[in-house]
Amino acid sequence: MIKNNRLTAEEYEKNFSDIHPPFDNETAAIVEANRCLFCYDAPCIKGCPTSIDIPKFIKQITTQNVKGSAHTIFVSNIFGAGCSKVCPVEKLCEGNCVYNLLEEKPIEIARLQRYASEMAMANNWQMFERKPDNGKKVAIVGAGPAGLSCAHVLSREGVEVTIFEKEEKAGGLMTYGIAAYKVTPEFCANEVNYITGIGGIHIEYEKSLGKDFTVAELQTQYDAVFLGMGVGLARQLDIPGEDLEGVEDAITFIYNLRSKELPAIAVGDRVAVIGMGMTAIDAATQAKRLGANEVTMLYRRTQSEMPCTQHEMDIALLDGCEIIWLAAPKEIKGVDGKVTTLVCSKMKLGDADASGRRSPVDTGETFTLAVDMVIKAAGQMPFFDIVEQNNLQHKNGKINIDATGGTNLAGVYAGGDAVNGGKEVVNAVQAGKDAAASILQYMGLV
């Protein structure tokens, strides 16, 4: 049965508390920071899409120059605080830490980054002074990591930025698409306020591209445009029974989790989650933490092809989620319009596909799972229609850009998930920075 309010207030609080607790005192942070070897041309930096000078900011923690440390982080990544909570660091900076080669625990880079950046946010240390207004105006679509990162760089240079955001809050996937035990709504709001605290960034909420305005209109009203609206639509399974009550997509499930009170969120007794990406993990673990009795994750390939990291999978396993490999949904059956059964095809691995991963091939055999809820986390689709309607060149809805981040439209740049189809927050931040640099050049400011 799908129902809400399954837990006590204490249980909700415990299940959704911070999964990566911060250093709660200076001594602990300094002890960890002192472990850092201060590598030259450090592998951790090369693992960071925004190239934060990690050894430098860690060294600055040891010298108790936390303000300098936060500056080192934010100068490369204005979402440094949020990234410290949501980045899959085990495959980025921490995964490259040379201590791994000594079979020694890598430096807790994310936790140290959180230490310095949260202290800066808590004290509202504004690290950057905006240059005088230069009369240039840029429109940005989407107040997510790509859009805000782009906006911050532009504003620093004295550009006046207007961001159009379709939701009622800024932050994009940080605010609406990531597990609640990683970032809280309060944190996301604080981070947005900290970023926009530089001034010169105006956000127009509940304004959607395609509904309220067009790219062509922005082109006439602004000196340049950045499109960072991400992806939104959940990929459909295209199988019978997808419209039954109890079938939900992970994006909507997590969006509700992040925008409503936890006890209001309904979950089934036995939940199947389709997919093995980060979003699938976030959906599965949170379904379990909301009180589902059984959560089973299904993936059509094997562990070696899964998109999530081992660390993320371990979170799901430790939460008690089951994983069935080489299983693809074939049909969802129901009684009285409600989900009762998921029929799956048993798969085997065939030849490598375009992504280099081996393709799953149907063996013809099936099995069934008794479930009352199916959460689809098989990836997200770009805003195909919007892109098409605005005459943007694209590939399957993903906007085409050149080396400068420019689209086929004059003065229109794009980056983040809207271009790459869905990567990490930190990739979007870098795309925003890169596009900002190109926009400044385009407007003749550098």
Binding site: D41, P43, N96
Partner: protein
């Protein structure tokens, strides 16, 4: 199992680890705890005329997350009444007759004061004296401590007074606050001192409080120079020890080594460079008396491994290895080698060599790990890369002699051999 018992001027102790004259040896309760923990002996904190200490008294230098790499103090000699000290010394000797009990002295600057103090202390049954000619603060202003040790003539005069009265062995403790410890050592040896100990603490300021702008340690908005000790001073102590151990006029006296001894390895180094035993203070003050357990066990295991039966088998063994620069072999050459199987690609060797040494390491860019290799033809064999490498035995120095025969700088010049061309 080796015999680590020590005999210093006839003063016997079950091991060569004594606690130096300092706060840990100021009271019976501390000394009994030290003996219970296994320390071989103590040098009781300096006795003399009545003084008064201030608050605070200590400050430290921390480094890279390690506390108390260096330590300084502005304490004076014992501020407890002499009678109480003498009574407690007697009691400690009675309770632990197998341990060494040496008493540090600093009488007022007249013969009678010294004679009187010596008589009183000998009555306790103490095994020896250590003359405090080294204390660098507080007592110097009164013409005592380092003020005596810094002037060989005055030091010799006081030692002569002491030797007139003393019937037990006398050790003279030397101050490092001189350009060379040898002149005072020679003078006191000539004046009859039975043994030497060194080093006392080094005048220092450990740091300044960046909020109050007052240096450490803080005493009501002021500070004074303190005596520096702890691990940071060990290299200075070893050098001064060696200069005494190599001098024919001073090396006939047994030496008690002091200065940053923190573990059995440090102690072995002091013994190899000519000390007959060692005295410890800062390490005990930062970790408690229990550290002596590993000091004894580590020393014992090392001696077994090397085949040494008694301490005398290796005391002074490394002294001849310290020579004059002019005697070093110029044909000796070694170059660094990086073991690629052990390398973790941190690049510390590269940046140290590239920025501050001889640009002898090449960087082959990698994602994410660069490969670092030695340019042997450029390497001068300075050791810097090996010193900064965080992985044990990853970088080794491989001998590549320029020529088989020994040749020193003097001979090199005489023969007009080529100098560096870069």
């Amino acid at each position: 199992m080796a015999d680590i018992s020590s005999n210093f001027l006839g003063i016997k102790s079950p091991n060569p680890f004594w606690l130096a004259s300092a706060p840990p040896t100021d009271k019976k309760i501390n000394v009994l705890r030290a003996f219970e923990a296994g320390w071989g002996g103590v040098v009781w904190k300096t006795l003399g005329s009545q003084v008064k200490n201030v608050s605070s008294r200590y400050s430290a230098v921390n480094y890279g997350g390690h506390k108390v790499m260096g330590f300084n103090n502005i304490e004076l000699i014992s501020d407890r009444p002499l009678d109480i000290n003498l009574k407690e010394i007697r009691e400690c000797i009675k309770l632990f007759p197998d341990r060494a009990m040496v008493v540090s002295l600093m009488a007022d600057n007249d013969k009678n004061s010294w004679h009187e103090l010596i008589k009183k202390v000998e009555d306790t049954g103490a095994h020896g004296f250590e003359l405090n000619f080294g204390c660098p603060h507080g007592m110097t202003e009164r013409g005592m401590g380092a003020a005596v040790g810094q002037d060989p003539e005055i030091a010799a005069m006081v030692v002569e007074w002491v030797m007139e009265a003393a019937t037990i062995p006398v050790i003279t403790k030397l101050t490092p606050n001189v350009h060379s410890v040898v002149p005072t050592a020679k003078a006191v040896a000539k004046a009859g001192s039975n043994g030497l100990s060194l080093i006392n603490t080094i005048q220092s300021i450990t740091g300044v409080d960046l909020d109050t702008f007052v240096p450490n340690p803080y005493v009501a908005g002021k500070s004074v120079y303190g005596g520096y000790c702890g691990p940071a001073v060990k290299p200075i102590a070893l050098k001064m020890l060696t200069s005494i151990a190599q001098n024919p006029e001073t090396n006939r006296l047994p030496i008690s080594g002091i200065g940053g001894v923190s573990n059995w390895k440090d102690a072995v180094e002091f013994l190899l460079l000519g000390a007959s035993n060692v005295q410890v203070c800062t390490a005990a003050m930062t970790h408690g008396f229990r550290i002596v357990e590993d000091m004894c066990e580590g020393l014992n295991n090392w001696m077994d491994e090397k085949g040494f039966k008694i301490l005398e088998d290796f005391i002074g063994k490394s002294v001849p290895a310290i020579t004059h620069w002019e005697d070093l072999d110029i044909n000796y050459h070694h170059v660094a080698n990086i073991n690629q199987d052990k390398c973790i690609h941190c690049g510390l060797c590269y940046i140290a060599c590239e920025d501050t040494s001889h640009q002898s390491i090449s960087l082959q860019p990698g994602q994410p790990y660069n490969i670092y290799t030695i340019k042997e033809e450029e390497c001068v064999g300075c050791n810097l890369c090996q010193l900064v490498c965080p992985v044990n035995e990853c970088i080794t120095m491989v001998e590549q002699r320029v020529a088989p025969e020994y040749i020193n700088w003097v001979e090199w010049q005489k023969r007009g051999l080529p100098l560096n061309d870069h």
